[in-house]
Structure formats: structure tokens, C-alpha cells
Symmetry: C2
Subunit: 313 residues, 2 copies
Amino acid sequence: MRGAWLDEGKLTYREDLEEPAGEAVVTVMLAGICGTDLELLHGYAGFHGIPGHEFVGRVERSADRPDLVGRRVVGEINVACGDCATCHAGRPTHCERRSVVGIRRHPGCFAERLALPVANLHLVPDSVPDEVAVFAEPAAAALHVLDAVSPQAGERVLVVGTGRLGILVARALLTTPADVRVLARNQARLPRLASLGLPATLEAAPGSCDVVVDCSGTAEGLALARAAVRPAGTLLLKGTHVGAASLDATSLVVDEVRVIGSRCGRFAPALRALASGELQVDDLVEARYPLSDCGRAFEHAGRPGALKVLLES
Amino acid sequence: MRGAWLDEGKLTYREDLEEPAGEAVVTVMLAGICGTDLELLHGYAGFHGIPGHEFVGRVERSADRPDLVGRRVVGEINVACGDCATCHAGRPTHCERRSVVGIRRHPGCFAERLALPVANLHLVPDSVPDEVAVFAEPAAAALHVLDAVSPQAGERVLVVGTGRLGILVARALLTTPADVRVLARNQARLPRLASLGLPATLEAAPGSCDVVVDCSGTAEGLALARAAVRPAGTLLLKGTHVGAASLDATSLVVDEVRVIGSRCGRFAPALRALASGELQVDDLVEARYPLSDCGRAFEHAGRPGALKVLLES
């Protein structure tokens, strides 16, 4: 099978990959490169194998569910054991024994095919084109912030970090009645943020925001985000950090700040928001590369300010 | 006026202190020494002056409210401006211009008298003896954890740190239907915790608790507390830390942990809980010293495992 292969911090295109096996085998049509994929290259999670976890595909075979064959699907990335205390408590995305597609002990989607449990699959409505459906996973992650906070009219919400994830998170928050801004690093970034429909601000006064979402992925961004939270306000942490990034405990106590870590979200509402256009993504595709060009695609996705780069099988 | 004086990390007893002036002048009957007072000695908050913020007293004079004269009172410690955006938003305890009794630009209660705005005073029900009323401030702080979490039956709650604050926090949590334990540092601590009515455990498996409250005041305690939180669980930070103590941001994201800083609480429910006996404190007084012995009293309060030490005017 053809696909990308990551090992010891190097990504290569190979044509000798092992065929996947599992409850359902899915032919990948489109796959998206995300920040985590780039971090894997730098050693995050110690992963080696086929990377990639954002995809839209078509079920090629499934012994238990032949009715799914030929259907267009997206897939949840956490593969839970279904049998531990955490799974029984209804938190399968935190299953200790979980594998994670393209991140942890599960071959990913930067290949012709991948295998997934049937329970992880979600049918894609016919009205949603591949270029939109491929955003199901990051859209779910972005909308997940609304599971943690419900900012009200008059509340000030700030998003720090305007990469791929930050843009989606800002758009998710813009569906609320709150006053939502993204923090622009400098004047030069303003036209681009405006073209993405994101209200921007060049500075965030310390303690000025009711809710701040850190999507920066950097220690500097986290520090800015923390400082912008008002006393008794909320700091949402979205996305992992490259290198160490920490929060001072005593200042959280004195300011009574609430910090909420937020990772993967629910696919069903994400697909609904994509289908209805409530969450716009079609303007976020910056480039498409064939799978055989995965090296160039990764290089492109790693450029500062790059939007979504897709791989086509 | 007689009282304690703190300057450059030294506590002295003086008889030449300036008489307090303010909306209400309160004669202090009993005052309690808390961990923060001990930290002030080590430079916390850069305070110099009369320390102390836990007290019960009697109103000696008040120009605006002569009806209060002779009444027994306790007092909230945050003196807010009442006029800034934070005060108008209903968060006076976070007023940026606030002074804090015995901690920040406001003479404290380890003296014969202190002054407070009338708005800070709460009348003490006749049924509540001085030895109980003097716990109003720490009781309010402890009960404040229940403003942040409402642990349910079957949920596992752990309190790390069994000093004065930890004991009160554990007792506050024991009013809920949850399964509440305190973490005992070693076997030798068990009889004492049992005598205080606190169910104890000698170990907390990583990820085993729904809610963990860190009352340790140390980086080691915080690390233990953080590790004990289950994925998507809650870590309450109660009490400030001596020295630096921090939380890793990426692990909060991956485990989707919620962290809530918690400081001062509401006096009215605290007085109700003290009056009803729902929050027991009368077994927590370890010693009483006259004001003139404030040095020895501080030394006593600083001994490992010391419970409440009171100063009598």
C-alpha cells in the first residue's frame, strides 16, 4: 500500500506499507495535515508509523457491517478498549488503553487505506463535499470549547494563536453572542484575519477578558493568554504545547482563575455545523498534494501562517 | 495601642501602635493565626504593619452606624473600592485597588483594635461563642470550595494537605454525599486524622479521583494532587504556595483537567454553618496566647501539624 511513513523524525513516501486490518477498512479520499502531525515529526508522542488523523473516506470492506461498504465516512481518532473503568464511566476518549489514529499505536490516514472500529465511523451527509468533511475532526475539537464555556452577550472572549486550530476555535466562538476577538501578533496580520472574518485586536490588557482560549501552542502565547484573563475568569487550553509551558499555581489561586484543558470533541455536532455552514471551513484549504508528495505537503503545512494542506490519495 | 508589628520578616510586640481609624472601630476579642500570617513573616505580599485577618470583636464606635456599637462582629478581609469595573461586576474580592486586612495596606487584627468599613462587618449570632466565631474567615474560605464543585454520591474526592485549611476544607466537603478522603503523609498521621473525624488514605493512585483539592501549600503536594485527578476531573487549588509551584499545560490539555483557583469565601453561609454545627471547629483550637506573647504564639502556630493558635487581647 502507498502512504507516508514516519520514523525517527523523518517522513518518507513508501509503496510497500502493510495493508490495514480491522473492523472496517476505509479508502482515504482526502486527509488534512494538522499541527500535531508536524509535532510528531519533532518527536511528540514518540510515534512511528503512518501518521495522519484527519480524513474523509469510503468504506471498502467491513465483515460485521457490509451495509456500510461504499458509504462516505469520517472517523473518530480515539480507539477505546470499551472495557475499562474510564470507558464504563462514559469517557472513552480518555481510555488509558486507547490507541489514537496516527498518533499512538494505530496506523494513520496518510495512506491509501486505514482501518477503524465501526463505532468510530460517522456517515457524511451527501450535501457535505469531501473538502469540507475532511475538517470533521478539527471542527469537533474546535466546537468542543463550547462544551466547556458558554460565553454570554457582553462577555469578552479572546483567542490567542491564529493558526489552523485558532481560526476554527474563533469561528466556533463567534457562533455565541459574546464579544469575540483574536489576538493579532502585529499590524501586518490584520488584513489576513479580516479576510478570514475574524475580529482582531492588537493588544489584550492584563485581566481584561472573561474567557481566553490559548491555541498558540507556545509558552509565550500561553503567558499572554493567562495574563489576559480577568479575576475569576476562564482560561481554556486548546492544543498541546511544543516544549514546556506551565501555569503558576499561586496566581491561579489569588485570581481564582478557572483553567480548562480541552482536546477532542464530538463528531456528530461537528458534522451538523459543517453541513449547515454554521462553521465555515471551505476557505481554509491552502493547497492539495498527492500522497506521493507528502514530504512537500508537510513542508508547506509547516510554513508560518499556513492554512490547511490536504493530501489526496 | 498594644499589638503585633511585622517588619522586615520580624514580628515584635509593641505598645505604641497608632490607633486605627475608619468607618467602624472594632475591639478584638480573639484572633486566629493562619498559614498566610506565617508566610507574611517570610516575605509573602511584602507586608509590613499589624498582621492578622481572622478575628471576632465588638464594635467600639461607628459614626455612621451607632446602632452597631456593642455588637459582636466578624469582618470580611477584602476592602474594595466599590467603584471600579471589577467591583461593579460584583467581584469586590478581586477589586484591583483593594486593600486586605493584615495582608495588603490595611492594619490587621493582631492588636487591641482594628478599623473596617461597615460593609465588611457581619453580626455574630448570640449562640456562636467567640472561639467558634473566630473561625468565620477560614470557614468561609473552606466552604468556598462548594461554590466551585458539587461532588455527587459515588464520586471520589481527595484533599491533599491536612493543615488547618485542609482540615476545614475536608470537613466542608464531608457535608456532600461524595466519598471524601484526606491524603495522610504516613501511617503515624492516621490516628490524629481519625480523631479529627477525617477518613484518610495513605495513597492516591494516579488518575483515581474525580475531584482533588490541593491545600498543601507545597510544590510536592501540588504534584501529588495533580497526579491523582482522573481525566476530565477537577483540581481545586486552595491556598497559596510557598515558593514556585506550577502546572504543566500540555498535560492539562491531554487529560482535559479542569483547574479552579479558590481563595476567599462568603461569610454569611460560613456563620450559618458554624452556628448550626454543620462545620465543626471547636476541636481545632490548640492554644491561646495573650497578645503580648504574639512571638511565642507565632512560633507555636508554625510547628508542623499545629492546629489553630489564638491570640487574646
